[in-house]
Structure formats: structure tokens, C-alpha cells
Amino acid sequence: MSEPVVEVKHLRKEFDGTVAVADVSFCVGRGEIVGLLGPNGAGKTTTLQVLLGLTTHTSGTVRMFGKELRSHRVEILQRCNFSSAYAALPTNLRVWENLRLFARLYGVRDSAAKLGFLLELFEIKHLKDKVTGHLSAGESTRVNLCKALCNDPELLLLDEPTASLDPDIADKVRRILRQIQREKGISMIYTSHNMREVEAVCDRVVFLHKGMVIAEGKPQQIIDRFQRSSLEEVFITVARSGDVLDGSGTNTG
């Protein structure tokens, strides 16, 4: 495999004594979609926030595109983008104004054409002139995704991107993400509590529990390893007995 896009080693993050991430190591290869799974409070969002430079880590190393995050934050962020169900775009601007603004922040050339294409892709061209705050949750999620793709990122970080989408749109979004990943070779880190979605989208998953990686591998490998019939069952098993399982599923793949 060529040099990984993301290389996290022994990442640890403490917030005033609370250990949010205890010891997490994983890699993301070029063009790979990696799912970060785990129960509430496992440390998924914190891990993403560290990768985005929003939060500084306590110890460990984070390298992205072969560069140390601490010393190359802006350069790295230029090649990434992010979307979350929990972060909004300015609600008082129109959709189009918002997208133009972010295209500018990312230094996108020919942004009108690029954004037009993305709006078309997510089937929200008609929302272009709407005030962002008036959109439904699912509509603004799709606008967020347009923003997240505006700079042709090489790495896309998605925190529960489909959390508020109806099943039909969620399916479309998954297919679009898959398609973009195939065509452009984008790498993605994806958190979701929808295990069927994770099985469908992710090439590989990293299972976190209490800030530790307790299993890692292709979805099917993990299902087999835990002798369950679906990722959802694995999740429930892991969530309810994470301490006991600690180590049993690690690093066998």
C-alpha cells in the first residue's frame, strides 16, 4: 500500500482529567472509506476533532498526507473537508452565498461551476436562493455535503453525515459518496450509528470503546470474528461487554 493518507499512532486526548481518547492507532489508505464505530462517548467525535485541528491532542502522533498535523495544520486542512449533522452553515445567509463563501475560504477556482455541479448532484439546485436557516434538516445536510466537497478534498471527515436524512435520500447520499470515492479516489473517515449503512459504505471499520480500539477490519471480517450475523449484533455485543472483549478482537486481521 502507498503511504497512508492518515496515520494515527497512540492518540490520547484528555479533557481536564476526563479521558476521551485513551490510546487509538489506525491508518486510512488512499481512496479508502474507514468507519469509526462505537457506543456514545467512545471517542469518535473527539478523534475527528483532533484530525481537524479543532482540538489539540495530549499525546501520540497524527500524520496526514505524510505531514505532522501540529506543524502543518493549515496545509493539511486545505486538502480536507468536513461535514457533520451538528455543525451548521450560517443560517442567515442564502444557500448559494454560503457555498460561495466556503469555496472562497478553501480557495476554489471556478467555484460557480463546481458548486452548480454539486447542487445538481445532491438534487438541491432549487434550494440555491433559499435562506439556509429555513431548510429542513435533510436539506441542510445535503447543503453541508456540497460545502464538504467544494474543494475536491482528498480526505473527507464525516461525523454522522446521514443522521437526519430520510431513507431514500440517505441511500442516494451513500451512493453519491461511494461514486465520488470511486471516481476521485477520495479517502473518508465516517462515523455513524447506522450499522447497515456502515456495512454498505465502509471498506474497513475501526471499533472504539472507551477511547480504545477494540476491533478493526473489513465489516465482514469483524462479523465473522465475533461470530454474529450482522455488524449491528457485533455492536451490541461489544457495547455491552467491551471490557471483557478487550484484546480478543484486536489486531488479528
Binding site: G53, F82, L105
Partner: protein
């Protein structure tokens, strides 16, 4: 009409105050600041009246008040340009998206400086025009001295903006009221509407440590027909450089603290 319902609602709104220090402080803070400012204005006017040789002497003070009003607004808008821009992103839950974009914190600050200039530009045109139309008060008659005086207010406004934004970054929306509170905490001290020597003697050194004080003293000197206020401007500028360096250091520190504590993400999504 039901007394039970009315009292239940009233209780709901007063209970807020019991557990919120900022709300309690606000209850005292604004009226106290107002009282201080208008108290000293009164003292100043009384002094003028007592020492006036002719009835027209009072007119000078009225002109000072109008000039001070307009000058004050520059300081206030510059500070608000920085702080409200940041708060705008907090209120619209957009902070996260802005801070994960490839921007440097210095770029963010410079952008908010520009917002301050735009805000001031709009306000100034309106105020100068209105003062002239309604009161035949022509601020532009102050001439060239206006420019360095304005610039010094702008610089101090930026420094105050960085300090308040740093506070909000670190302590979150609980201290949001500081965005408006800090300038008005400075107001009685900065000798905006009256000369420094109206203030109690022990307060005067504190007052002189503020760049704005020298700007307002300089403004009064020019409005009274005095010479170009070189000494006041040098003091203001020197202090401003020190304040800006300090404010930038403080802001960066608070930004690093906020990143360490994961507060940027929290502020941006709650």
C-alpha cells in the same frame, strides 16, 4: 386571568436570576455604569457653570458632548466588529465549519478588523450627517486632527475586541454579555464626556492608562480651538501599541486553551 398562572410565569423568569451570576451582575452593572457616566457629566457641567464668565461658555461643553458621542461610537463599533463577528458564528453554529477551513487565526482576526472599519464607516457617515443636519454641529471642522484621533480609537477598539473575544472563546456563551459590557466598563474611565480631572484623583492614573482617554482629551483640546494635540496622540498611540500586543497575546492564549479544552467544537454546536 389567573393569578396562579401569572405568578408561575413570573417565577419562571425570576428563577433565572437565582442561578446565573452574569444575569445578576447585569442587573447592577448597566445602571451603575450609567450612573457613573452621567454623575461625572453632571459634576463637569456644574463646574463649568460655576466658573463660567459668560453664558456662551456652556456651549463649549455641549459641543464636547456631541463630539464625544460620535467618537465613542468609533471605539464601540471597532470592538463590536471583532467580537460580534465571532459571536455571529457561535449563534449560527457555524464556528466549527469556519475553524476547520484552512484559515490562520491571524486571518480571522484581520477579517474582523475589516468588519469593524466597515461598521464604523457606515455609522460615521450617518452620525456626522445627522449632527450637522439637526444641530449644525460640523465634526469635520476639526480638520486633520480627526484622522489620527479616529485611528487611535480604532486601534483601541480592536484591542478590546480581541480581549472580549478571547474571554468568550474561553468561557463560552455564559460571558456573552461582556461583548457589550466591556466597552461600557471602560466608558466612565475613558473620560469620554468629561475631562479626566473631573474624576477622583485616585482614578486618574487608571484613566490615563487608557489610550481612549488621551483621544478624548485631544478631541476636547481641538474642539476648544486649541493646537494640534501632539502629546495626547503620542500617548494614545504608544499605549495602543502596548494594548494591541497584549491583546494579541491574550487572544492567542485563549485560542490555544479553547483548542486544548475542545471548546471551539462545543461553542460551535451547542
Amino acid at each position: 386571568m389567573s393569578w396562579t398562572r401569572i405568578s408561575a410565569l413570573a417565577l419562571r423568569y425570576t428563577l433565572l436570576y437565582k442561578r446565573s451570576v452574569p444575569r445578576m451582575i447585569e442587573l447592577f452593572f448597566w445602571p451603575t455604569m450609567d450612573l457613573l457616566v452621567w454623575g461625572y457629566v453632571t459634576l463637569y457641567l456644574q463646574r463649568l457653570y460655576a466658573t463660567a464668565q459668560s453664558p456662551s461658555a456652556g456651549m463649549g461643553a455641549i459641543t464636547f458632548l456631541l463630539g464625544a458621542m460620535i467618537f465613542w461610537d468609533i471605539l464601540y463599533r471597532a470592538q463590536q466588529g471583532v467580537t460580534l463577528s465571532f459571536l455571529e458564528d457561535v449563534w449560527t453554529r457555524n464556528l466549527l465549519n469556519v475553524f476547520v477551513a484552512p484559515i490562520r487565526i491571524e486571518e480571522f482576526i484581520l477579517a474582523t478588523y475589516l468588519v469593524g472599519i466597515v461598521r464604523i464607516g457606515v455609522t460615521l457617515v450617518a452620525l456626522i450627517g445627522l449632527a450637522w443636519l439637526l444641530y449644525q454641529f460640523n465634526l469635520l471642522a476639526m480638520g486633520f486632527a480627526l484622522i489620527p484621533l479616529f485611528i487611535n480609537l480604532l486601534l483601541m477598539g480592536w484591542a478590546m475586541g480581541m480581549i472580549t473575544t478571547g474571554l468568550i472563546m474561553r468561557w463560552g456563551q455564559a460571558v456573552e454579555a461582556l461583548a457589550w459590557g466591556v466597552p461600557f466598563l471602560v466608558q466612565p474611565l475613558a473620560a469620554v464626556f468629561y475631562p479626566v480631572d473631573v474624576l477622583p484623583r485616585w482614578v486618574q492614573p487608571i484613566s490615563h492608562a487608557l489610550p481612549a482617554t488621551h483621544v478624548f482629551e485631544g478631541m476636547r483640546q481641538v474642539l476648544a480651538g486649541g493646537p494640534f494635540p501632539t502629546a495626547h496622540l503620542l500617548w494614545a498611540f504608544g499605549l495602543n501599541v502596548a494594548y494591541l500586543v497584549l491583546a494579541a497575546w491574550w487572544f492567542r492564549r485563549m485560542y490555544e486553551r479553547a483548542r486544548d479544552k475542545g471548546l471551539l467544537a462545543k461553542l460551535g454546536t451547542q
